[in-house]
């Protein structure tokens, strides 16, 4: 466990921004949008003195484009937005997946669809963060439940983007983004930071899109002399556009495969009171805070509830649900949407155990009492 050198009262958005800086992010492009704007403001203030670059672009499409452009030169780059802006970014998130360029996209979720409720919390972008861009593609999506965890998961997100040469999405909840809590800040110099794999081969043998189905090939920075071609078209190992069925199949399977094959490195969840649980709550983000209180209260009232809290939504922590289903535990899934992650839980439970959904879409947090009531009500 890391040793904090400083305990700071920080807002979720601030913790995210500072963590990104500590993780080596030196380029930020964004467009103002509630409830994510504080991240841009922090970056505008801090990046220049660090030798980094901040730019407020003309819209979110331009923002993600500039981020990918900067990352192509080797810079660790990020943007932050919320629902409407996240929707605008989708095409180029797919482009980043396709050309395998690392970047961090923070989506501070707010009520939707459309303009929705800009200052109200919601967890309605879970499926969009997985499938928002068209076509089969890899997705790494992470979600914290506290300001402290926002710091550490932001560092993890930047690392995963580099490690896997792919965009990583940090899904924040509006209430976590605007909450002020203690952050046990580590010594940034002692953080384990990862860099994208870079080539050591000579230019003629360099294959920036090559390798086996589970491989993350090395990537050269623009300006290093490798003279690569990046294209959103299906491309061969060298980066040349291709219409070959074999090349297409290999590329799409490898893009997804490089992430799927290394789930263990990515997927994380926390289990609480699972040893003797009779029933389990699976919750994430801000909903997990209310759920944890409900679980603890249930235990004082004789109901042995357990909890599974994924911090990785995609790839989904299949094993956590597999285990609960194997143990015969009914699963309650409270989410601030009409049922998104619960679909994964149902898929994995496959009828072996009851799965119950609990939804809120009124812009209000779950209260521990209503989760407790749902637990007691039975399945």
């Amino acid at each position: 466990m890391r040793k904090p050198i400083e305990i700071r009262l920080m807002q979720g958005n601030e913790a995210c921004a500072q963590a990104a800086l500590d993780a080596g992010v030196r380029f930020f492009a964004g467009y103002p949008i509630t409830p994510s704007t504080e991240i841009a403001e922090w970056m505008a203030r801090e990046l220049p003195a660090l030798g980094g670059k901040f730019i407020q672009m003309e819209d979110e499409i331009a923002s993600i484009s500039a981020v990918i452009g900067a990352s192509l030169t080797g810079a660790k780059a990020m943007t932050a937005t919320s629902g409407p802006g996240f929707s605008l970014m989708q095409e180029n998130i797919g482009y980043a997946c396709m050309i395998e360029i690392p970047c961090l996209i923070v989506n501070v979720q707010r009520g939707g669809p459309s303009t929705g409720r800009p200052t109200a919390p919601a967890q309605g972008d879970v499926m969009q963060s997985r499938w928002g861009t068209h076509g089969d593609h890899p997705a790494i999506v992470i979600t914290p439940w506290s300001v402290d965890e926002t710091y550490y998961l932001t560092v993890k997100a930047v690392n995963l983007a580099e490690r896997f040469r792919t965009p990583v999405i940090l899904l924040l909840d509006e209430v976590i983004a605007h909450l002020r809590e203690d952050v046990r800040k580590p010594d940034p110099r002692k953080l384990k930071l990862l860099e994208r794999p870079r080539p050591s081969r000579d230019r003629n043998r360099f294959r920036p899109f090559g390798g086996a189905l589970d491989e993350v090939p090395p990537i050269a920075d623009i300006g290093m002399g490798y003279r690569c071609n990046y294209t959103g078209l299906v491309h061969d190992e060298a980066g040349h556009p291709s219409n070959s069925p074999e090349v297409t199949d290999q590329l799409i399977r490898r893009l997804v495969g490089k992430v799927e094959a290394r789930r263990e490195e990515i997927v994380h969840w926390e289990e609480t009171f699972m040893e003797d649980a009779q029933v389990v709550v699976l919750a994430y983000g801000c909903s997990a805070r209310s759920a944890m209180r409900a679980v603890k209260t249930a235990r004082t009232q004789g109901l042995r509830a357990g909890m599974i809290r994924p911090t990785t939504l995609w790839p989904f922590p299949d094993k956590a649900v597999e285990k609960a289903a194997a143990m015969g535990l009914p699963v309650l899934v409270p989410e601030m949407n009409l049922g998104q992650i619960v679909l994964e839980v149902e898929r994995l439970a496959a009828g072996r155990v009851p799965v119950k959904r609990l939804s809120r879409v009124d812009g209000q947090l779950f209260t521990p009492d209503e989760i407790l009531a749902a637990l007691k009500e039975g399945f």
């Binding site: 484009s65 500039a66 452009g69 623009i222 071609n229």
Partner: protein
Amino acid sequence: MPSDIIRYFREEMLPHIWCPGCGNGIVLRDIAVALERLNLPRDKVVIVSGIGCSSRAATYLDFDTVHTTHGRALPFATGIKMAKPDLHVFVIMGDGDASAIGGNHLIHACRRNIDLTAIVFNNSIYGMTGGQYSPLTAMGKKATTAPYGMFEPSFDICRVAEASGATFVGRSTTYHNQLLIRLIVEGAENKGFSLIEAVTHCPTSYGRRNKLPAPSDMVRWQKENAVLINKIRDGAAQLKEGQFTIGVLHRHEATEFTEAYMEVVRRARKQ
């Protein structure tokens, strides 16, 4: 001196995908000749392009090349240039790419005066999708989506660029290709945002529908309708209906964006 531009091409990518008679090859050649004249360090040149016929040009050039998404070449290039200001960034776009879907990005790249050299291949049509009208299709001209003639007024993209703050704006045609080369060279030498409109010809999707079916007809049309701006300025010629100016249409001095940002860095470090 014989030109040796083939070294700037990815020969394994040739032949190109363009139709017989297309003007894009001329513009691509002119870019390569301009690059040869500029003699920039090979590994510090980046070519960024959008989507469309013209944007396929990037893939043929043997530099770091980024074939991006439709309309977004300029913000990608902005990120590249800002992250590494020592790179020489060229941006290839089509008329629909630059003026319709990417119109807002164009305005803001001009406004920032970021040191990019944008070359807009203007063939007056969406060629790759088979001939739909663009914001640069002239009134009355036919397109698959304007079967009764273009009914929207068109942009003069050079005037848009000038009004938005570009510090170098020029236009030439595939007929006036020596001028086009000079404009690309001067645009690249300008420390700021440069826009060069290259009027090119698309016999397949535009000419056929607009009584100019042969490539030679289209090139002749360019020859007859392009008027050197200096001749207008000197009073030696007057612009007739349907004619357009070519040459250096505008230039002015202004602070370049990445240099302005260095001033931000200095201020931030003082505090």
